[in-house]
Structures are given as C-alpha cells and as structure tokens.
Amino acid sequence: MAQIKMSKKAASIDMTAMCDVAFLLLTFFILTATAKVPEPVNVDTPSSTVKTKLPDIGLVTITVGKGKDNVFFDIKGRDIRRKTLELMSDKYKVSFTDQEKDQFALMESFGVPIESLSSIIKMKSAERNKVGLQPGVPFDSINNQLKDWIYTARQANIELGNQKDLDFAIKGDAKLEYPKIKKIMDILQDQDINTFDLVTGLRGKDY
C-alpha cells in the first residue's frame, strides 16, 4: 500500500505556482513590449559601443535609406503629428480631412511628397510599408519639404505648449556615402539643431 502511494505522489509536481509566476511575467512583458514597427525601407544601421537610449516621446527620426532619395520622416507623439500635418497643409495648401489627420497621427514614418500623402494615408499599414513604394521626402534645394517638416514639427511642439524641444535622430544605412548624411546634417544645422542622435546597433565589447 505505502509503495503505491509514494509512486502516485511523485508522478506529477504541482505546477500551479510556477504557472502563476510564468503568466505574471508574461503579462508584464506583453504590456511593456513595444511592437516592432514595420518600416517602408530596410535600414542596416552601423553598430557602436555607445549605449544611449532614444527617448520615447518628442523624437523626430529621419531615416535615410540606401537608395537615391530615400529619406523618411517620423515623429513620435500623436498630438505633435496631427498639429504638424495641420501646419504643413496650411503651408503647402494641401487640405486633409479630419479623418485623414486622425489616421496620420497613428501612422509611422512616411516618405512621400506632401502632395501624394493622402494616398498613402488611405492605404492599409501592410500595403504602405512595402519596400520601394514610397519614393522619399524631397529635400533638394528647389523643393525642400524635409526642412519644412522639421520646422513645422518644432513649431507644433511649441504651440502644444511643450517645454522641451524635440529631439532629432538620424537613422542612416551603414553603406551610405558621407555626403548624403552630411546633407541631412546640414538641413538640421541650418535650423540651429546642432545636437542630435545617430541611431546605431549594438556592438560586442571586444570590438
């Protein structure tokens, strides 16, 4: 009799506590996780040993792809996005409906001239982020929309009453040639933005 009882006890361990802990941790990680955003351009960032984290709000990211004019623009923060679009539509005389503005506030980075922005807004997220669909924000000397986006984003930030100025980050592809990055830096510097972040990947300690 005793033998049979022993074997029955050892057959299964009480998993309840373990299960509780596992699900607690799971809930925590799900809630803190930020979903990885699909990007319309593949960027292979260079790596560095510096480990400064980027801020989560009030950040303007300029993504520079490998192609000819692949420059994408992104602002973090829905209010700022909406306000920026309103200011830009005034400036370029391109009107957007309220619905489009709401949709734009939820979007991620985009890379089209403002004239064709509404067609991008209409698309679904998966279609929008197809590589090669968006040509990039124009930033040449004749039609420098990138400059205006940066300018209006800062203006929107001030109009919303934020004390802190926006942070700027450049996310460039490692294989880019220096003059192109220099051009983006120049656009920022022309607006007296002398400090910005370069987005990099992680590099091992023994580099």
Binding site: C19, F29, A33, K51, Y178, T200
Partner: protein
C-alpha cells in the same frame, strides 16, 4: 488552485473517492511550457528592438568667424588628423601634414582594436602628459582629433571613428569638412 469538482454524486463510497482523485489536478505542464516560451519571446524582443543611439554635437554653423582663430591658436603637437577615405581606408597624421611630429607621419590604418585605436590611445596619453608638463595649459587640455571624411567615406566609417573617440576618451574631436588637396591625395590610390 487548479482543482475541479466533479458533480459526480452517484455510486458507492469507494467509486466516488476514486473519481475525485483522478480529476483533482489538471496537468499544467503544457501551459507552463507555453507561458515560458512566450516570456522568452517577449523578453528578447523588448530588449533587442530598442534602438541605441550615439549623441553628436556639432559646432554652430553661424559663428564661423571664431573658428579660424581658435584653430590657429591650437598647438600643432596636440592635433591628430584622421582622413577617412573610400574602401574603408584611413590615413592619419600627428601635427601638420607638411611637418608632422616625430612618429606621426601620414600612415595608413585599419578600423578597430588593432588598427587606429592603438595609435589614438598612444597619443591620448602622450599628449595629456605633454599638456600637463607645458606651462600655461588649462586642465582638461589634451589630444584634439580632427576627423576629415572624404566624399567616398561611408556613414559606417564615420560612426566607427566616432565610436573610437568614445572608446578612447578623446577629450576634443571635431568633424571638419574642408579637406585640402594634399590630404585628399593621401587617401586616393
């Protein structure tokens, strides 16, 4: 607790006990397996997807009038110029190009631990000692690295060199965009 009460009330005493023993515990192993798998997934994705960044401060463009003055005043023994060329080539020299410091003639180097870093580290310590010994130098004076990326240099080269600056604790460094033809000649084969 994970117990299930079965509404099995009929039957004899012995039968009732047996059925209770069978259903008293649910096997949670598979559930725990799944939970831990998901935990692992979320843990890895959260820590890896957060992008890192390197802060870069550039001098103000508008007050260019002050720049030349400052550069003339700087002791040439303290400057090290690194010219970034195409095809991951680096040429560096210590002092002036025409009259380099001893051991600082234009030399080719590679990126990384065994290449340029050795030279930078050597000069960080030697120039710091030189500045400490020299009268009239302010505390904190040390090596000044001038980074000159050519048009063929890539963005990776620039970030790599800026990373070296951070690793070697170079007190002062600057990205300078005007490259003299002589310097350009160093990196063109």
């Amino acid at each position: 607790m994970a117990e299930l009460n079965t509404g099995d009330s009929g039957g004899g005493k012995g039968g009732k006990v047996r059925s209770k023993k069978q259903n008293s515990k649910v096997d949670l192993t598979a559930m725990v397996d799944l939970a831990f798998l998901l935990i692992t997934f979320f843990m890895l994705t959260t820590s890896l997807s957060k992008p890192q960044s390197m802060n870069l401060g550039l001098p103000d463009k508008n007050d260019k009038k002050d720049d030349p003055k400052e550069e003339i005043k700087v002791d040439q023994k303290r400057t090290m110029t690194i010219v970034l060329g195409g095809d991951n080539k680096i040429k560096w020299f210590h002092g002036l190009l025409a009259t380099p410091e001893p051991g600082g003639a234009p030399t080719e180097a590679t990126y990384g631990k065994e290449g340029i870093r050795k030279e930078i580290l050597k000069r960080v310590t030697s120039v710091a000692a030189y500045c400490a010994a020299k009268s009239g130098s302010k505390p904190g004076d040390g090596l000044i690295v001038i980074i000159k990326p050519t048009k063929k240099a890539t963005y990776r080269n620039l970030v790599d060199i800026l990373d070296e600056m951070a690793i070697c604790n170079v007190p002062t460094y600057a990205i300078v965009n005007d490259i003299t033809p002589e310097e350009l000649k160093l990196v063109t084969p």
